[in-house]
Symmetry: C2
Subunit: 444 residues, 2 copies
C-alpha cells in the first residue's frame, strides 16, 4: 500500500462487499470497493487497489454485504401512506370514488401531505429506494419532505378538471405546478414535473396546457394511463378512442411522457408508444390488489419500450418495498402467460435500477454503479438465512430479499441510512405525527 | 395489584402489546397480556388483570408490538434451501427433471438434509412460523433438525416408485417411513407422516401401501396433487382419469389426506374433495414461479374445504416468509378473477393461522390464541414506517408486513427467538455450513 501522502483524498470509500454494478450482464465483483467524491463515483475496483489509490474522510464497511445501485421507484404517491389499510379489497372505481377522493377532501392539508411524505420517505430509504417519482396534491410539501430526506426525486403537481384539495380550479393547479417548477428548476436532487391525473379526469384542453407547460420548462409529464377496462370503456364512449389513441390523437405522446400502468394496450397502441418514445411504469402489486389487470410488460420489453417499476401509493399496495415488487413482477407474468421463462430475475432487477433510470430520463447519472455516475448506492446484508447459500445473487435479490435486508443507503454521496439508522429523518417523531394525524379516522 | 403471595406462579407472562387472538371476527385487544404455563395459554386478558392474578418466572415485554398466533406453513421441503437460486425461471417439468432431481442425486446426504433443514428452520423462525409440514428424503435428519429448533412439525418421508437419494426401492422408502413413524409417535411437537410424492411418481399399489401405513398408525398422508396441466394430461393418458378422480377411484381420498397445490380441479372434483374431507394447501408463490396455474381457492373456501397456506421449498419460491405468501395469496386471486373483493385480508390471515391448523389436524391445540391451547405465539413489531398508521392491523399483516417484522417467537411456551436472536439454533454455524456444503456448486 502506498503511504497516505501519495493517495488521493476522497470523501468516502465503501469496501468489504460484493459489488454488483447493475450494468446488464456484468458479473458480481468479489471484494470490491468504490471511491466517492463530491457525490460521484470516481473509482470502482478491487478493495486493495482502491485502498492503495485513495484515502477517505469516511469509510463505510459493507461487512460482506452486497454493494449495488439504489432502487428506483418510478411511480408513487408518498402522502397516501396515511391511508394505508383504510380501504382494501375494493375495485378501483369504488376505492377511488367512495373512499380515497372523499378522504382526500376531508383530510388533506399541507401538514398532512408533509408528514405522510416523511412517513413514506422513511419507509423508502429503509427499503433501499434512492430515487422516486411522485405525483400528488400540495406537491410543494412533498418536495419539502423530500429535500429533508435527501432522496432523489421527480415530483409532479396533481392536476384535474375539478376542484381538488389544493386547487379550486384547474387553472389554480396549473399555477401551483408552475410555481413548483420555478422553485426547483436546477435543484441537484429534485426534478419538478407535471402530473395530470388521467385522461378521464383531465379534459383535452387541460392535458394540452399541461403538455405545453412541460415543454416550456423541459420537464417530464406523468399520467395514469389505460389502467382499467372501465377507463378504456369510458374514454371510448366519451371520445370514440381508447386512452392511448386519444392521447396520440391530441399529439401528446412524447419521450417526456411517463405513463403509469398501461394495462389495457393493443398491439397498435404498443406501436404508438414505441414510435413516440413513451416511457412506461409497471405497478404489478397495485394492479393485482385493485384487480386492474396484467400489463403486457414482456411485449413492451420486446419492443424496447423503456419500463420501470413502481409501487404506486400505499393505499393500493400497501407498502413501498421494491424488493417485494420485483418478486411480484417476476412471478406475475409467469403465471399470467403460464410460462415460467417470462421475466427472468436479471430482467426484473434491471427494471428496478437502470430501466427505471431510463424511464425517468436519469440513466446518465444513476441506475448503475459506474465511474462518473452519481453515488446512489445501497448495501444489502447477505449473511442472512433467506439469502444463503450464495448460489445466485441476482436471484436472491429478486426472489428472496426484502427491503429490511438493506443496511446502508447513500444518495449523491450522502449517507441517508447507516447500519439501519436513518440519519436525515427523525423517525420517532414521524411515527408519532402519523399516529396523531390519523387519530380521528376509523380504526378496524 | 394483589401481593405476590396471592398471585398464581406461572412460567411466563407476555404483556404490553395488542393481542390479536386469530379467532375469526374477534377484535384486537389493546394492552393485552397472556399467562403461559407448562406450554399452554392459561389466561388471556387485559394486562392489569393478568398481572394481578399471576406472577411469572419469565416476563416477555411485547413493547407495543402485536401478539398473535404463530404462522403455519402447511407445505415445504426444508432441505431445499440449499438449492435456493440454483434453478430459476424454468417450467416445472424441466426444473424438476433436468435440475432438481439430478442435483438431489448428486448432493443429497444425511448431512446435507440436516444442515439444509437447519438453514430453513432459522429462516422460518425468523419469519414467525411456529408450525410447518415438511416432506423430503432422509426425513429422519429433518426431524433431528426440527427437534433441535423447537418448532412444531408434521414430517413425511418421501416415497417414489424409483430409486431415490435415500432409498434404492419403494419398499426401502416405506420401511424408512415406518421407522420414522415409530420413532416420533407421541412426540409433543413432531407428528410423523407419509409423503408419497405425486400420482405420476407413485403407482397405485404404492399409493395404497402408503395409505394403509397412514391408516395403521393414524398419521396424515401428504401428496402433491393436480399441480400442473401436464400432470393432469399424463395421468389421464396413463389411467384414463384425472389425478383427483384417480385417487378417488383408488379409494384414497380421505380426511387424513393433505393435498398440496390442487390447481387444476373441476367442479366435480371439488365435490369429491368436499365429500371425502380432503385438506388442501395453497402455494401461490410456487405456483406463480413455476407457472403451474392458479388454484380455485375462493371456490374451495366457498365449499368449506379446509385450506392452508404453504411456501413450498426454497427452490421454487424462493423464501419461506409466510407474510409475503399471504400478500401474494390475497392479490393473486383478485387479478386472476379481475375482482378486487376476492380473498380479503381477514380470510387470508385465517388461512395462515387457524385454517392451516385445521388442514394439519391441529386446530384443537394451535392456530389461535385461546385459553387451553398451546402457547405458539409471535410478537410482531408495529412501530415501523411500513406498519403505520394503525388503521387496520389485519390489513397491515397481510399487505405490508414481512417476516423481518417478527421480534419474538414462542412454541409450546418455549422462546425460540427473543428480540430477533435465535435461542435454539447456532445461526452463525448454520450459515457457515450452508456455504461449505454448496461450495462446489456452480455460482451465478
Amino acid at each position: 500500500m502506498k503511504s497516505s501522502i501519495h493517495r488521493k483524498r476522497v470523501d468516502m470509500i465503501i469496501a468489504n462487499g460484493v459489488v454488483l454494478t447493475g450494468s446488464p450482464g456484468e458479473a458480481p465483483l468479489q471484494s470490491g470497493a468504490l471511491a466517492i467524491d463530491r457525490g460521484k463515483i470516481i473509482a470502482l475496483d478491487h478493495k486493495e487497489r482502491i485502498e492503495s489509490m485513495f484515502q477517505a474522510s469516511k469509510s463505510l464497511d459493507a461487512r460482506g454485504g452486497l454493494i449495488m445501485p439504489g432502487l428506483i421507484n418510478c411511480h408513487t404517491h408518498l402522502p397516501m401512506s396515511l391511508f394505508r389499510g383504510y380501504a382494501d379489497d375494493l375495485p378501483l372505481e369504488n376505492w377511488l370514488r367512495d373512499y380515497i377522493f372523499p378522504m382526500e377532501r376531508k383530510c388533506l392539508s399541507p401538514e398532512w401531505v408533509y408528514w405522510g411524505s416523511l412517513l413514506s420517505l422513511a419507509e423508502s430509504i429503509r427499503c433501499g429506494t434512492t430515487t422516486l417519482a411522485d405525483g400528488y396534491f400540495f406537491e410543494e410539501e412533498v418536495a419539502r419532505a423530500v429535500e429533508e430526506s435527501g432522496v432523489r426525486a421527480i415530483l409532479g403537481q396533481g392536476i384535474l378538471d375539478f376542484p381538488t384539495p389544493d386547487s379550486p380550479s384547474p387553472e389554480d393547479a396549473l399555477s401551483r405546478a408552475e410555481t413548483l417548477i420555478q422553485k426547483y428548476q436546477g435543484h441537484p436532487l429534485i426534478q419538478p414535473a407535471l402530473f395530470p391525473h388521467t385522461v378521464y379526469t383531465c379534459s383535452p384542453p387541460l392535458l394540452q396546457k399541461c403538455f405545453d407547460l412541460a415543454e416550456r420548462y423541459q420537464t417530464p409529464m406523468m399520467i395514469h394511463l389505460a389502467e382499467t377496462k372501465e377507463e378504456v370503456k369510458e374514454i371510448l364512449g366519451r371520445y370514440g378512442r381508447s386512452p392511448i389513441c386519444h392521447l396520440n390523437h391530441l399529439g401528446l405522446l412524447s419521450p417526456s411522457l411517463i405513463a403509469s400502468h398501461c394495462v389495457w394496450v393493443t398491439e397498435e397502441e404498443m406501436n404508438m408508444l414505441t414510435l413516440h418514445g413513451v416511457k412506461v411504469v409497471h405497478n404489478p402489486e397495485s394492479n393485482m390488489k385493485l384487480a386492474a389487470g396484467v400489463a403486457p410488460i414482456p411485449d413492451f420489453l420486446a419492443r424496447k419500450i423503456p419500463v420501470g417499476l413502481g409501487s404506486d401509493g400505499c393505499a393500493s399496495n400497501n407498502n413501498l418495498d421494491l424488493f417485494q415488487e420485483m418478486d411480484t413482477a417476476a412471478k406475475l407474468h409467469k403465471i399470467h402467460r403460464l410460462n415460467a421463462t417470462q421475466m427472468p430475475a436479471p430482467v426484473v432487477l434491471e427494471m428496478a435500477t437502470l430501466g427505471g433510470a431510463k424511464v425517468l430520463g436519469l440513466e446518465k447519472s444513476v441506475g448503475s454503479l459506474e465511474v462518473g455516475k452519481k453515488a446512489d448506492i445501497i448495501v444489502v446484508e447477505l449473511n442472512r438465512p433467506h439469502l444463503q447459500p450464495p448460489l445466485n445473487l441476482i436471484s436472491h435479490l429478486v426472489y428472496s430479499a426484502v427491503g429490511a435486508d438493506v443496511r446502508d443507503v447513500i444518495v449523491e454521496g450522502r449517507i441517508l441510512m447507516e447500519d439501519r439508522k436513518l440519519l436525515t429523518l427523525d423517525e420517532e417523531r414521524i411515527l408519532h405525527e402519523a399516529k396523531e394525524l390519523t387519530r380521528s379516522l376509523n380504526k378496524k
